[in-house]
Symmetry: C2
Subunit: 272 residues, 2 copies
Amino acid sequence: MTRKELIEQIYKKQSFLCVGLDPVMEKIPSHLMTFEDPIFEFNKRIIDATAEYAVAFKPNTAFYEAQGVKGWATLEKTINYIPKDCFVIADAKRGDIGNTSTAYAKTFFETLPCDAVTVAPYMGKDSVQPFLQFEGKWAIVLGLTSNEGASDFQYHTNLEDEPLFAKVIETVKSWGTTENLMFVVGATRAEQLAQIRKIVPHHFLLVPGVGAQGGSLEEVFNAGATKECGLLVNASRAIIYAGTGNEFEISAKKEALNIQSEMALYLQRLMR
Amino acid sequence: MTRKELIEQIYKKQSFLCVGLDPVMEKIPSHLMTFEDPIFEFNKRIIDATAEYAVAFKPNTAFYEAQGVKGWATLEKTINYIPKDCFVIADAKRGDIGNTSTAYAKTFFETLPCDAVTVAPYMGKDSVQPFLQFEGKWAIVLGLTSNEGASDFQYHTNLEDEPLFAKVIETVKSWGTTENLMFVVGATRAEQLAQIRKIVPHHFLLVPGVGAQGGSLEEVFNAGATKECGLLVNASRAIIYAGTGNEFEISAKKEALNIQSEMALYLQRLMR
């Protein structure tokens, strides 16, 4: 999906919501356990219930790989089930030497029909560039993450008073364009979003950590929105586990609608 | 596999060779293409030919994932085929927030019977620790890598003149022990090996980049060996693509034997 198409979807759905598909077997409602692939049945219902309010879906590969070959099949079915007007992010945090990153890029852009894959920047340019060679496909590179461990290395600061996360964003932006590169910026750190916006005024940012991980949507929007929105805000557990039992998808739908309604208000500010 | 068992294998085989299993379809000899799973057939023959001279095997997940569900099945069969006296490293460069890293750890330590998985440190403590919670299993954390892009961020240096790679190794070593933690140190940078040995005098180091990526085995040994060896040196393409055609496994065996013979000479220095 191109940048233009993504922005059109955001305005059409009045939403910049990304739904994280991170299912664990222990949380699948019991009435789905008789199906051959309970996790796929769960995802299908979540996708059906929320696609109207979400512009993106983000399966995290870890939760599928943990089930082995069967899990990889579930991932494939899930990604193929997502409606074509939604942006699909493989949250895989990949990154390796050049020929290996090329194999990962082929995995998510050719073998699977994803629009984007999250990429860990530690190994530098030749580990990121292979993800930028595919027309209409995106690398979403880790900038500042939302977890506690973010403080261990991402704030490692050089003589020019530049913390690693800023150096990463500053450097990586020169390897791609606003048409094939986004950054992950954790929403638990809204105060840093404004700082990062100065480095990348036009790039889309993927913001995890609203909802279960904490973080206020309004703060994120105020600090991070561009004229074209420029944000994808993710909620995983807050939506997919909003309810339990037979009617879990109704709770998920309600929660997605809640978030979308709030997003619509903020998007209207941009249009004034 | 425990540290003690690994060291025993090194002395028994007089080798600290790790064979990287990174097969790409285009390089599989044509006589294997009639099999149902040509990549598995290739790996089987490579493992049979080299297991006598190698203490470890390291499949890189990218090359399997690129084939989708079928590739994940090949990875599973390959890992299960590796003899039990060999150390198995999933070269996966994983790392995500806590509950997600736990899912990755289960993938490689429970769903698959690997001994170790390579881990990218960018997201910090809660992304690494889940890999350290499994008895007899190992996290091999990226320190200084062998690729060109290593210079982009791994040398980002703070006020105390500490480059990121040194900060990572210094910090991460406090999260685990010499029994469950190793580091990746690129062999194209033998001069840094000595510096890293000062930070982690007893940890095992996984050294990629000997062979196809350049790097001298003797230099690596001189700079990096401990009294108990403390090194696993990887060769991938130099071994698995040593030959082509019907007798590729004979060339692979010869190349593995060559490397092992050189390793045996160095190991004898330790025993004097």
